[in-house]
Amino acid sequence: MTVDTGAHVDPTSPAIQDLIREQVTGHPVVLYMKGTPQFPMCGFSGTVVQILKACGVKDIFSVNVLEHPAIREGVKVYANWPTLPQLYVNGEFVGGCDIAREMYQNGELQQLLGGNAQG
């Protein structure tokens, strides 16, 4: 990432908000999480990774917000949503862990993921 995402950076600044917009619109499935899909650092983040895998998503663009403090705060502003993780599909904010789980259980998430889910 060439944009400075350190703790001293204003999360509401155009640099950060534009970066988030580019990330969520530039990738079909984007997850802002604590840790990585391989090593989640929070149970809620890990759950969303498991749900996406269960949906057959092979390619998750994930951002470890613990390494990018300005993004951690920036996505809360971007989505007007106060908590992490945050899942975006095709540029649209979907929700956090509870919503991903609920949508997975009723089949909505698989439908939303459409072509991004295999199997």
């Binding site: 604590k34 840790g35 650092m41 929070c42 149970g43 809620f44 983040s45 613990l66 007007n80 949503w81 106060p82 908590t83 992490l84 904010f93 979907v94 929700g95 956090g96 862990c97 509870d98 919503i99 609920e102 949508m103």
Partner: protein, 94 residues
């Protein structure tokens, strides 16, 4: 503002009751499930909240959760680290 766990639950309940007029509201402290993980650094607490309110009628789950977050207000910026939410209308519970 620093709250004890009990005071924080009381404040959260009061705010949710004031803005959502729930017919049922439970708040459980889930923090022990998350103690020590890196994301919980900073000390915010986790709660499991179940709300049954007519205020959710006709709203998507995302919109319902936003209503809860708006009601919780600045508690979400520091004292509370995360909420696990179940949001139903009285009809959905019936």
């Amino acid at each position: 503002m620093v709250y004890t766990a009990e005071a924080l639950i009381a404040e959260l309940r009061q705010r949710l009751e004031a803005s959502l007029a729930p017919v049922r509201l439970t708040v459980e402290d889930d923090s022990h499930h998350h103690a020590g993980h890196a994301g919980a650094r900073g000390g915010g607490r986790h709660f499991r909240v179940r709300i049954v309110s007519a205020a959710f009628a006709g709203k998507s789950t995302v919109a319902r959760h936003r209503q809860v977050y708006v009601a919780a207000g600045d508690l979400m910026r520091g004292p509370i680290h995360a909420l696990a939410l179940t949001t139903h209308t009285p009809e959905e519970e019936a």
